[in-house]
Subunit: 93 residues, 2 copies
């Protein structure tokens, strides 16, 4: 196991290092399906621009995927990235 700190890992941990973003991420994970941004907003009661910013950060970190369909933008977790973090942390201990 290589156990090397890479910039990508830092970005992923950064994305999870904020309560609102962690809540967004877990809400998506619990849902087990893609959700439109508006449904996340209704759950977390955060202003639109703030939510958009957090979703963008999660997306750039590779933790969620986004897809536009008609008037909605659907977000979903990307399990591969999560697995990579699990693999990394499991290699530690």
């Amino acid at each position: 196991m290589d156990l090397q700190a890479r910039e990508g890992h830092v970005e992923a941990f950064k994305a999870l290092a904020h309560l609102t973003r962690l809540q967004i991420f877990f809400f998506l994970a619990r849902a087990g399906r893609e959700l439109p941004a508006g449904e996340i907003q209704a759950e977390l009661e955060v202003p639109g621009p703030t939510l958009s910013h957090h979703l963008d950060l999660l997306r750039r970190a590779g933790l969620v995927a986004s897809r536009r369909e008609e008037r909605f933008v659907y977000y979903s977790v990307r399990p591969e990235t999560v697995s990579e973090l699990v693999r990394l942390l499991t290699a530690c201990c």
Copy 2:
């Protein structure tokens, strides 16, 4: 699995969300034993106060333990905290 975002998880992810700290953490993990601060400093070539600051953050997040013995302060990873993160992330996907 509860999959609830708690402040403690945020703190742990924050601690890992920085390249130097991730390097410190992995260096300790690879060592597989406690190391004095000076040995970490020799490896990472970071100024003393900066290293001290990062170690303090990792310690407050529960990711490492510290112990003074004579003139040295020994740091080691706390596997329980890492396991908790793994449990959390595994519950996602």
